[in-house]
Amino acid sequence: MDIMVVGVGGQGTLLTSRIIGKTALDAGYDVKLSEVHGMAQRGGSVVTFVRFGDKVYEPIAEEGSVDVLISFERLEALRYAHYVKKDGVIIINDCRIDPMTVVTGAKSYPENIIEDLIKSHKVYSIDGLSVAKELGNSKVLNSVVLGFSAKHIGFTLEDWLTMVEKTVPPKTIEINKKAFLAGYNKYEVFMIWNKEIECMSREDVTLLQSERLVKLVDYVYNNVEFYRKKMDAVGVKPSDIKDIKDIVKLPFTTKDDLRDNYPFGLFAVPHSDIVRIHASSGTTGKATVVGYTRDDLEIWAECVARCFSMAGVDKNDIVQIAYGYGLFTGGLGAHGGAEKIGAMVVPMSTGNSKKLTTMMVDFGATAIACTPSYLLHISEVLAEENLLDKIKLKSAICGAEPWTEKMRKEIESKLNIKAYDIYGLSEVMGPGVACDCEYHQGLHVCEDHFYPEIVDSATLQPVAEGETGELVFTTLTKQGLPLIRYRTKDLTSISYDKCECGRTSVRISRFKGRSDDMLIIRGVNVFPSQVEAALIDVEEVTPHYMMIVDRVNNLDTLEIQVEIDPKFYTDEIKGIEKLTKKIGHVVQQALGLSAKITLVQPNTLKRSEGKAVHVTDKRKLY
């Protein structure tokens, strides 16, 4: 590995190179360190190389071969950027020190250096001096920058801290360690979990998908009666599917199909091979049941691990999983991925904010996975308890409900963390089908396992890249419950462009709505028809109802207005309260979600001709 450290004399570049060199040496590498030119006197340009590997012959790296360029000053980064290789990294301490030529007026200091470098390189910048000053000592700038660079170089955090301790003057050990950690935790760009797959060329992805689709179609045709009948009905045989493009010949699958084959009708393996069941609510109260084989669970963990990596989570992290554990896929799904990464996983589940915030502080949790609205609620609990400056949280992986970019920014500023959007649906797998990276330019789909299509929800014909339509998934590798062209009803668009993060995987945009009337309230899928079915059993009310969904103090609220039937009107408050409680109970049973019941006068809820409007959603989620 070749590292180049550049800066202006007096910034501590030499000490930085020395620490890197010694850490590599202690890790058993052959190391060559050299100061190339410039003097370490104040104001001059300083360049050092640190090269390490099994055996290093030359002390100086050639142009276009450096893996990591650490520059303590903007212009110095520009001056030496040509040393960096194509997929190398440039780390810039964002400050400006005018060289003599600028001071004397012979030349002007270039504008937009970082913006220009980003076009050709992977650039990460940090305002190291501000961080150092916050710590009360501007001299620890070099430790801040080194900490910020550490993950690009490798080695463990313990290795680095040990070396900082051994190298800096004894009196400054504590402050330098603090500075290193401050930089280390500012680190914003993360490891790609499965580079081979996530950065695969489009041709290779297509080949892989084609190969897997052919196998899948053969598999479902021979193992699931439902698919065999459906394919026979449209006259498609497994042999007609030769590559991924042929997918359009296959019939679609819907949530109704899952419901009609409740509970296990679409499973492709005997029950003895299923090791876990999850379920989500269906449109009429019957659950949608999904089953996983051991391999399915392994792939699920792999996909979630990719997503958590996008959010910067690694084995050094302490992750609180605050999705519900149980039939809902959120808790156990996120759990498996975080464990696979090797993080310290805290299975909080939901429902006890106080315990969550206490443990967040006491354990020093660095990441959390939960719904975005719950996280906003947590931020308020933290603020109330004056704990905001005691948390070590740096990233949040939020999903299970739609949220806006504005909400993401709000979470980030309230908690001073980075928040990422994770997507999934239980039918397809659960959380981890897609996730956004640090550039937040859409969600990267694990397309080696889940093949996405965007279709017009009316005509079911594919729409062009970039156009909005309904998202359809085919599970390319799933064994337990394979799905062919499953209609998610989620509206989004798709982009095949390479992302700035380096991943080539296809991205779906933030969701733009749904093509059906499903609501997601506090992470629970709710269909108005469920409410309707539940109210039929309550004779004291008319069949008219209105659901009002809102977000108050960052938690979803559901109010259901029902008309009291004049025949059952009572003039005693306790009678009306009893009725309200009864309806509340019936609704809770049907939705798995508590709702506030409001009785209204007969004939006051809006009647509409044609399709009745039963929902007012005030949340503005899309």
Partner: protein
């Protein structure tokens, strides 16, 4: 005597009470006493009117939830301790009071509207103890 009380369910929304009163006014139903029991979500308007049947029918026709219930109206003297005296009679007879409100004050006597757990029994006990109760006819003449 048992008297019919008119009750109406109203949502806690601006103008709702006015709408009920409008309906009654337009049908010449005169209100003699009014009580409004409120919760955060809704209120129950209880009325003693000169023509309860007409009041109920017109309100139902206008889409309100309205019903008639039985209450007792007693006349008591306007002096300290008279209310306490008659309440004792009621409780000694094991009758509980659901709610009560005042009707009107005429000179030295006052009227109280009473909703009890057992209207018939309450009327009997009160009459036995020499306490006057008003009849529907009395009310319509007021």
């Amino acid at each position: 005597m048992v008297v019919k009380q008119l009750s109406v369910f109203i949502e806690n929304r601006q103008g709702r009470l006015g709408e009920v009163l409008d309906v009654l006014k337009n049908n010449n139903v005169n209100i003699l006493s009014i009580s409004l029991a409120d919760t955060t979500e809704y209120g129950i308007l209880r009325l003693i009117v000169n023509n309860p049947e007409l009041g109920k029918d017109t309100l139902l026709k206008e889409g309100f939830s309205a019903l008639l219930s039985d209450v007792v109206i007693i006349k008591i003297t306007h002096e300290t301790g008279s209310l306490q005296k008659f309440l004792k009679i009621i409780s000694d007879a094991d009758i509980s009071i659901e709610y009560m409100y005042g009707l009107s004050v005429e000179g030295a006597s006052a009227s109280i509207v009473l909703k009890t757990s057992d209207t018939i029994k309450a009327t009997t006990v009160l009459t036995e103890n020499g306490i006057d109760t008003l009849s529907g006819e009395d009310i319509s003449k007021l």
